[in-house]
Subunit: 596 residues, 2 copies
Amino acid sequence: MNNQHSERLKAVRAEMGRLNIDAFIVPHEDEYFLEEVPEHNNRLKWLNGFTGTVGVAVVLKETAIIFVDGRYKVQVSEQVDEQQYYFQNLSEFEKHDWLGKALSTKSRIGLDPKLHTFAWYNEFVQACTLYQVTCVDIAKNIIDQCWKDRPHKKSKPVEILADKYHGKPNKIKRTQTGDALKASNVDCAIITSLDSISWLLNLRGRDVPCLPVFFSTAIINKNGDVICFLALENITENIISSFDCGVSFKAEQERDKYFLSLTNQVIQVDPQKVNADTMNVLRNNSNTIVESLDPISLFKAQKNVIELSGFKACHLRDASAVVNFLAWLDDNINSKVFYDEAVLSNKLESYRMKDALYQQPSFETVSASGSNAAMCHYNHKDSIPKLMTNNSIYLIDSGAHYLDGSTDVTRTVAIGKVSSEQKRMATLVLKGHISLAQMKFPYGTTGQHLDAFARQYLWQHGYDYAHGTGHGVGHYLNVHEGPQRIAKFNSEVALLPGMVVSIEPGYYRESEFGIRHENLYFIKESKALAGAEIPMLAFEVLTHVPFDQSLIDNNLLSQSEINWLNNYHQQVYTYISPLVHDTSSINWLRSATMAI
Amino acid sequence: MNNQHSERLKAVRAEMGRLNIDAFIVPHEDEYFLEEVPEHNNRLKWLNGFTGTVGVAVVLKETAIIFVDGRYKVQVSEQVDEQQYYFQNLSEFEKHDWLGKALSTKSRIGLDPKLHTFAWYNEFVQACTLYQVTCVDIAKNIIDQCWKDRPHKKSKPVEILADKYHGKPNKIKRTQTGDALKASNVDCAIITSLDSISWLLNLRGRDVPCLPVFFSTAIINKNGDVICFLALENITENIISSFDCGVSFKAEQERDKYFLSLTNQVIQVDPQKVNADTMNVLRNNSNTIVESLDPISLFKAQKNVIELSGFKACHLRDASAVVNFLAWLDDNINSKVFYDEAVLSNKLESYRMKDALYQQPSFETVSASGSNAAMCHYNHKDSIPKLMTNNSIYLIDSGAHYLDGSTDVTRTVAIGKVSSEQKRMATLVLKGHISLAQMKFPYGTTGQHLDAFARQYLWQHGYDYAHGTGHGVGHYLNVHEGPQRIAKFNSEVALLPGMVVSIEPGYYRESEFGIRHENLYFIKESKALAGAEIPMLAFEVLTHVPFDQSLIDNNLLSQSEINWLNNYHQQVYTYISPLVHDTSSINWLRSATMAI
């Protein structure tokens, strides 16, 4: 493997020499900036084998750097050749600090403007000025030039999502979005987020693993009219004719020509979602560009009544599948039958697949035994799946897309005996989860304001976790959906009723074990309190799966936390026991949800 | 008064007509963007009588708007004529929403670019484009043209702060700052924050009420050399010659000429601190402008050992003054002797003035009886001071500058009997204070992450307060000192060891009462905990004044909160009792700090 990667580095450097550049930037993302990148666009993995969902490499003349965040610290050292790459924290890349360290002044740095958001590109060009280096747009991506056996793009037919699942006709969504543009004095908006396009048109696709979207770009006018540019062979005449004349579909090749035809328009673009290349096209005319959040994203994030009832329904069915799996798992543990991570992952999926509305996993399952769970986004498919071992902790983070909604749940399970230290850490994480889940907060509150409630008990003892606390979740769309999130940074969007978010604090001890307790919640207005002066928002739980009580140290819980846990488990039993038909599963559920 | 303000509006509108503009913006700030504005620059107060520290008016042809934040909702309606002004929330102004509502397209909006930060100005010009209105720079401020009896600028001599108080020679501070510029590849930085200049040169001034700074602008080179532009008549030859050749003082009139002489330089400017007019001068040449935080502000915010020991020392002396005052107050309350707010404020100051290092109040004292305390920044000097009344709550927020540091403390005192509802609210506020004061948090944590800990108990019951939770505090400098703060928004600077901040949650019930519990704390690394993986920061208290226990409902406190309060009060007694010499004060202190 290393030899192959070394050859590839050599080829890239040869091409760099031909183009007279001293560095070339290879991000994980393709032009759609999704976490999941289809195989044919996974340039970073081709280059050095790294399979994480966040990362970027810089190839220099003599050496190379790969930047990854805290979640991938362990993984990168296992996948990428230390002889050829320096490992750096992603923040070094984001702050552009590496420019001064890795390059001398007057260096030339190549990048493919299609693969970078305009927001980042803009900042980067400024940083280059400061470090006296030159940023060079490379029209033909160097990786693509060197990638001989590149897989073909797999494009799949676009499908209609039935009315009973989405709850709002595309005409209404388009009018609503158009009205928002009008209110902002904008003529039209470019939509480059694939999930926004899918949501707006009530269509779904299968172009990206785990994300039910299709490759496309759209433009929406303030009158609500939409043009969607896509591979026309993937959409049937029947689907096209199901739309009124306000929606037209054009070949993706016509996109730039169309953009260039826009003149004297006020065009809204999301600088975090549009690539620098498209932005260069748009700026080539007399248009005024307004940089603003994708106008669809907030509408999409606030689920309507039908979407929410779908979320509730699929979470009940999904929980019954997870409960069946956990009961089966416990039964095997008790019989000292230990499977490997792949078998476990597949077993859980097999329970979910029995559901009539099941579509696909909502992300690659993290099925991590023992020390593997210390890598928060471990993927057993990257090497030989490990066997569960007795007296360890097993972590499984998984979810599914159903036609009526999407799920995402993490449970941490004791395999045999666990140490009191492991119980202590799992309990500190649980206390954080409960603290955040119980919050009431006014309109205007963002994820940044709430994130630390999930960390506070770890912080009191000198621990933390290197990932966000929660993400938005799409309705049979991207399982990581913005614009809201709950994290230390980049979570400046206010939480609003109807938004679905995860709460998933964790703790990871390198080479030892990992813990994460994740539920999904939707946000709703809290019932009016006596004397309350302002309306308050609160989290209402969607996920109904027991937390493993053998990982909880009751002495560390306050009475209010014990009450929360007992109420939660009682509710799980009430909702899920009617859906679990196997006697041993029901018995397991009864015991797993007993009050402490 | 109203008649006078009506005449002034008329005069301003006449001038607007002459300049052919449809609107003119009158901010509270002058060109130094301080909260305290000297009388001769308080254009907003001249125009309509508003005395708050945050606000902006827009004069239109037929009407006018004044925008203020939540703190001034009550005050504005008492000070400004409703017949002539619409009252709007400041957020309307900040989001530029008013442009679309108050003005038709093609309108011309005048402003004085000296009175707006470059950051705001930039955003505003963009918003004008969007709303199709024109922003017109007015070189001669319209208010200045109309202000006939404008007071003279009162400029006072600059003074040297002795080495024993500041703890770090200006040479070292300059080198440190220059090195930071070098590390950022910058040639020089323009310093427009008056407190940064005072701190850098270890000088103090008296040009602004309550803020010991002097009017000036400085430029610091990467080699540490400084040129300070100021009114040369205010600085003695002795002071000038006390500096080495790295520091020169020039007349303020020479400033723009000097700035225009800069060519081919990379110049760092803080867009939040520089006015748009100065920025226009700087951009007139071949320079590269780098927008970044004032390079001095973070050094200044992290107090050195000498500054911290001064802070500790002055807080002990200050607390003894406050304790003497509170004992005297209680004695009078018990004897049913009620004074007015001005007498009370002066009485407290008289205790502080006995201290040899006392300089001046660190801000206008808020001495607010009963319903006046519902206005968080009430100033009894604005109307007839109110008498304390029996069975009410009195709030006093005050502080002083000493040569060795600055103080800021708020206590809320029961006058006679208080209702159980008042006790409940005061206790919810106290619980928030304690929760935040007990936090441990890792490096990188900002005020935005912590703010909600002080609000959580109010939020649980449907309440909130419309101001930030805490601000930085300067060392015998501005009592509100950035760059860090603890608030919902604009608090993105990480908290660091040595920073001094307030924790001051509150609750305000309009026309009824107001509560605020404010202490100052400094930030330090927490002692290592067994097994801790990362260093944690914590708050250590500076303020040693009892909280009024008759406002606390013990039943609402957890055991951990009771422990915090008892420890706090025990410490207050230990530290302050040796400094209070009057027997009745000692008795009062003993009783006020009894364990609950």
